[in-house]
Subunit: 167 residues, 2 copies
DNA sequence: ATAAACTTTCATATATTATTGAAAGTTCGA
DNA sequence: TCGAACTTTCAATAATATATGAAAGTTTAT
């Protein structure tokens, strides 16, 4: 396989994988491109390489920067901004997990907690409802705090401890 | 809060959460409804309660059954089929993880492995590409086998061991 | 073998989400 | 302060994913 073919394949696979994890295609592809590039790239470079519009590139770069995955580089003597992603890929995973916890999981946990507090009228349906939603609340809350602990650990801690446990 | 309000809130929250995890809204809501119902429900019951069409109900019930989360119940003397979900919710989580691994993660890992095998022509870009994709392959492969091990354990093993580690 | 009771399928409609690109905004050097 | 070089915004559009419902299919009792 040629480099160019491998590169295209990698970028499109990464993009497809991203969309199933709450990262849109363009965002994942920009990340993929920067991730394998030895040098920083300009917005122009990225647009051209991926064949996406200026607006799309701009918005998704901003997101990646907000997520701490990509950062701006100013090359000396150049007006243009360049971008690079020298961060470890686990940083991306960490960030994705954090975002999803904050945006989706935590609000849901709050609702579970709320609804599990209705008082029973003694009927089977309310009893069952309270029992099940409580169960779910406990599970979700535990899983979420696990996730956050993992996410906030040093990279190597997770790798060493958890891998040892499973491999 | 009244039971009906809590129920609606729970179902819509569960539906919203599902859509961000690769389960469509109707599928997640059907699961939610069955999950809190003390008795099996018919297709008619489900359609009516959630206000969704017959076709939608049928297709999503079939999916839930395929995933092993919901199953058919034949009540004595009744022609109609009934459905229930008496399984633990961790079974759902397990199933979701399994499906995603099979359908998304594993094919991606295969691609990573392929593309990381191109031979270097000595340029910085091919060197970087090979290095990064190999790194990614190792990470993804390790993470995936961890996931599968967790998923295939008994429910209590995960709960006990992992929670102990983090709590 | 027939028909009533029920379920599934799938072409079409609807809703959701991502992308474009031109206009507005910003920054910087002269 | 001006204007060239560049970036961001956002309304319009395109692409994608979901839902509908009528028709086709299946099962069962007689």
């Amino acid at each position: 396989m040629e480099f160019q073919e491998a590169k295209d394949k990698f970028i499109s696979t990464w993009g497809a994988l991203g969309t199933t994890w709450g990262i849109n295609k363009a965002m994942a592809q920009i990340h993929a491109l920067l991730f394998i590039s030895p040098d920083p790239l300009s917005m122009e470079d990225i647009m051209e390489d991926l064949g996406i519009s200026r607006g799309n590139t701009s918005m998704n770069l901003r997101n990646l920067i907000e997520w701490g995955i990509v950062h701006k580089v100013n090359l000396q003597g150049e007006r243009k901004e360049y971008f690079s992603s020298e961060k470890d890929v686990t940083e991306l995973a960490r960030q994705v997990a954090k975002e999803r916890s904050r945006r989706e999981i935590e609000p849901s946990i709050k609702v579970l907690n709320e609804v599990s507090k209705i008082k029973s009228d003694g009927t089977a349906k309310t009893e069952e409802f309270i029992k099940k939603t409580k169960e779910l609340y406990d599970l979700a809350d535990t899983a979420n705090s696990m996730l956050l602990k993992m996410v906030n650990q040093e990279h190597n801690w997770v790798t060493k401890t958890v891998i040892k446990l499973f491999k």
